[in-house]
């Protein structure tokens, strides 16, 4: 298989989005290796396709800044790439030339027809099966050799394949946010994915220095398979608590427990804000048809959405208001669903601390423990102590940890994941957890 020929003309659909822009950058690095590093004498083209021209314009600024960072990090190698260019002497001259050469490959377009000339189609549009099917079948009709690598995180790839008539020319290529930094890549083969495409996908991932986890083609795969159910569990807990404590305290308490007592990088509701309430609903909706016996929706989510509480991020990466309001990344206010207004967290912090009751004397924080070589010892001590305590906070935390473990185990039992280790890898690398859900602590 001629990999270079496949990489000669590549399109990214949804290139101006959060995921698409990162994927575009990663692909530009890979194509640069061929064009500049290996000096392949071809006209490489990387199409950035999106519906919004203005979003595409700002995309180019992002790509440039990422290229500069990449070039600075890899300057030693870049100097060898440009060793024949006598006019390029200083590092900054070489970096500028590199950025210029890579940007030259990138072409923006708002027309899907652009992708007709591409051997590889990377897709990162919104989670809308009908739209994906429409675009893919249209491209396939005009470009029978195209391979499709979809960033779909929740829709079964096999269904898209079947409805778009792709006959094995599709694979799930699920990056984590932000793709340039996140090491994890979930690869999802359908029952028909052709072997060349599967092999190509793994090789490309390796070249991008990603950690690959293969997931079975079951809606949500491993990452969202765990995350969505974890979130639904948390929403149930909050709903129950809200009956006696009100929504503000309920959200705040469960978020605090899932962060501090589970030793996670952020609480579950902050994570929902980060992903977006609307996006979460969308993912759940896409997963639902595959699990007719399971209820993958939550009245609270719908109510938040109806109240225009949506979360997500601004273009500069800062957090929009969601279940919480934030100042410089810190939670300052929490949403009271019943009265549809935000309450400063400082007004309820004391009450919440009283409600939580006794907590372990050993204080450990995700930030300090996550890179500690003795991480396992610290966590073991902490959770042992947590098990000894009979307080509202400790009991909720233990139940939370057990539920998270049960979700992980279910993903293995239903063969979504090949192994426990794969589930843990996804949560540890994709979600930055300090420990995997399938553990001895709970």
């Amino acid at each position: 298989m001629d990999l270079i020929r496949k990489m000669e003309n590549v399109s990214v659909l949804g290139a101006a989005g959060k995921m698409g822009s990162g994927i575009l950058v990663l692909l530009s690095f890979e194509m640069a290796k061929l064009k500049i590093g290996k000096k392949e004498d071809k006209d490489f083209v990387l199409n950035a396709v999106d519906v919004s021209q203005s979003a595409l314009n700002s995309l180019l600024g992002y790509v440039k800044s990422q290229l500069v960072k990449h070039a600075e990090k890899n300057i030693v190698e870049l100097r060898t790439w440009y060793e024949d260019r006598e006019d390029l002497i200083d590092n900054d001259e070489i970096i500028s030339q590199f950025v210029y050469d890579v940007m030259e490959m990138i072409q923006t377009s708002t027309r899907i027809e652009t992708a007709y000339g591409s051997q590889l189609i990377f897709e990162a549009i919104k989670e809308d099966k009908a739209l994906k099917v429409k675009l893919f079948s249209q491209i396939k009709k005009n470009n029978p050799d195209a391979w499709f690598l979809t960033n779909t995180s929740s829709i079964p790839i096999g269904e898209i394949e079947k409805e778009a008539g792709l006959n094995g020319d599709i694979i799930g290529y699920h990056f984590y946010n932000p793709p340039v930094i996140q090491k994890l890549l979930e690869i999802i083969k359908t029952d028909h994915t052709n072997d060349d495409l599967a092999a190509f996908s793994v090789n490309l991932a390796k070249s991008m220095r990603k950690i690959v986890v293969q997931s079975r083609d079951v809606a949500g795969f491993i990452g969202n398979g765990h995350f969505m159910r974890d979130a639904l569990y948390a929403l149930n807990l909050a709903e129950e608590l809200a009956k006696t404590e009100g929504w503000a305290k309920a959200f705040f308490l469960i978020d605090t427990i899932s962060r501090d007592l589970l030793v996670r990088p952020m609480g579950i509701f902050q994570l929902l804000d980060y992903v977006g309430i609307d996006v979460t609903r969308f993912i759940l909706e896409s997963m639902q048809p595959s699990f007719p016996d399971e209820k993958l929706s939550h009245a609270t989510l719908n109510q938040l959405f109806d109240n225009e509480v949506k979360g997500g991020q601004f273009a500069d990466g800062s957090q929009k208001n969601g279940i919480f309001k934030y100042q410089k990344g810190r939670i300052t206010e929490v949403y009271d669903l019943e009265n549809a207004k935000y309450i400063p967290t400082e007004n309820i912090e004391m009450d919440c601390a009283v409600l939580l009751g006794e907590l372990p004397t050993l204080k450990i924080y995700w930030k300090s423990v996550v890179r500690d070589v003795k991480k396992a010892d610290h966590l073991k001590k902490f959770f042992n102590e947590l098990h000894q305590i009979d307080s509202v906070g400790a009991n909720l935390a233990i139940a939370y940890g057990k539920n998270s473990k049960a979700i992980g185990q279910m993903l293995v039992d239903t063969k979504v994941a090949e192994s426990k280790a794969d589930v843990n890898t996804v949560l540890e690398t994709g979600f930055f957890h300090a420990y995997g859900p399938i553990n001895e602590y709970f």
């Binding site: 990090k73 300057i75 030693v76 870049l78 100097r79 006598e86 002497i89 200083d90 590092n91």
Partner: protein
């Protein structure tokens, strides 16, 4: 000139903080003081100790690359900014790459010898955190021959000394040399922790040896050095007064408050030529021998030296150039503990370029300030014992790859 025809003293030395990533107050993304601040702080501190600007006859400013790091030239005109009373006094700036500070000293000394001045304010500075290290590497590469920049490493000077280290490993053994380089780093940090202005003053690393032995990473850096073998990018300034006997009287201070210069040498080698011997600093050797001959002393009489350890391997090779160790025996000398602060000859007692920092144009002056502090008992926590038998000290300042060299021999004034 084989003997000094006139007495020259140095006193009233001052160092600003050596600012960089090692300091707690350093934030890469926050605005930092500019060169004006550093020049002013160091200059004013020295002026205060010598009775004010009215006593100064002229000024010398040593700097390497303000023209590129700060887009600033015409540096002599910054002298009157230090104090209004310096307005209309002669001022000159000198450049010899990382030996610019050393050149500020020799230039000042020559004014004393020429009797055109009795009190010279000598100052060196560099503000180089203005750009990322990778782009700074292009600027610092100016200390080498520009025509070799293309074939050089992305990190040009680390590349140059990595090549020297590689040659040294091959000739004298990799293992022992690496061990000595690690020990060099540990000594540097331990000394820097005793000096409040040092960049590594805040270093609390409990495993210095482990850090020093970080494996090399040729993919991201050079072949034979890790980043701890290198001096850190620093912003800083140092100032010292260079005076004659008449100057001492004028400022009302005693010779005992000063160090006396008993010998000095300034030599340059052809920048377009490759090193004669990769494993030794031959130009430095010439400079040291000349300065020692003028001083009329032997290495056994040296109580401390400040050497130009822009890289740990350069520090080790400097010991050999000075004659403290035979060629190839520098590593043994270091590993025996002779250069540590309680050793036979304490080297770089406030951390040197690796520990204190290397604001390139300031380094030569910083070395003189450190020696002034040590010989006059002004070194505070970092003070070492100076005995009668070993009452002399020396500083060696190097520009580029053994190209511009300044060596100065000192003793306490009497």
């Amino acid at each position: 000139m084989n003997v000094l025809r006139k007495k020259i003293y140095m006193l009233a030395g001052y160092n600003t903080i050596s600012m960089g990533t090692g300091r707690n107050e350093f934030h890469p993304k926050k605005p930092r003081p500019g060169l004006e601040h550093y020049i002013q702080e160091a200059g004013q501190a020295t002026l205060k100790m010598i009775g004010g600007a009215k006593n100064v006859d002229e000024g010398v400013i040593g700097n390497f690359m303000a023209s590129r790091f700060n887009k600033q030239a015409n540096l002599p005109a910054f002298l009157p900014m230090i104090d209004a009373e310096l307005k209309y006094k002669p001022s000159v700036s000198v450049e010899g790459a990382c030996a610019s500070g050393g050149l500020a000293l020799t230039t000042g000394m020559k004014s004393i010898l020429a009797e055109t001045a009795d009190v010279v304010l000598a100052l060196g500075f560099e503000v180089q955190n203005s750009m990322k290290a990778m782009y700074g590497a292009d600027v610092l590469a100016g200390a080498g021959w520009q025509k070799t920049r293309k074939e050089g490493h992305a990190y040009f000077f680390p590349g140059v000394f990595s090549d020297r280290a590689g040659a040294y490993y091959e000739k004298f053994g990799r293992e022992i040399t690496r061990k000595a380089m690690a020990k060099w780093y540990c000594n540097a940090i331990e000394n820097a922790r005793l000096c409040k202005t040092a960049q590594e003053f805040h270093n609390t690393n409990k495993d210095l040896e482990g850090t020093a032995n970080t494996p090399v990473n040729p993919r991201g850096f050079v072949d034979h050095l890790n980043v701890f073998d290198c001096s850190k990018v620093s912003d800083g300034a140092s100032a010292i007064a260079i005076v004659s006997d008449e100057g001492l009287k004028k400022i009302g201070l005693n010779a005992k408050d000063a160090v006396e210069i008993v010998g000095f040498a300034h030599v340059a080698a052809d920048i377009t030529q490759k090193p004669e011997v990769m494993t030794s600093l031959t130009t430095m050797k010439v400079a040291v021998e000349k300065a020692m001959r003028m001083a009329g002393i032997t290495v056994d009489q040296l109580g401390t030296v400040e050497v130009h350890d822009c890289f740990s391997i350069a520090g080790i090779m400097a010991l050999e150039a000075i004659g403290l160790a035979e060629e190839g025996k520098g590593p043994e000398f270091v590993l025996a503990g002779h250069t540590s602060r309680c050793g036979k000859i304490p080297v770089n007692t406030t951390g040197g370029l690796i520990g204190w920092g290397h604001p390139t144009g300031a380094t030569g002056v910083h070395q003189a300030v450190t020696i002034w502090e040590q010989l006059t008992g002004n070194a505070g926590e970092a003070q070492i014992e100076i005995t009668k038998e070993k009452s002399y000290a020396m500083s060696v300042n190097m520009g580029g790859d053994d190209k511009s060299l300044v060596a100065v021999v000192y003793k306490r004034g009497e």
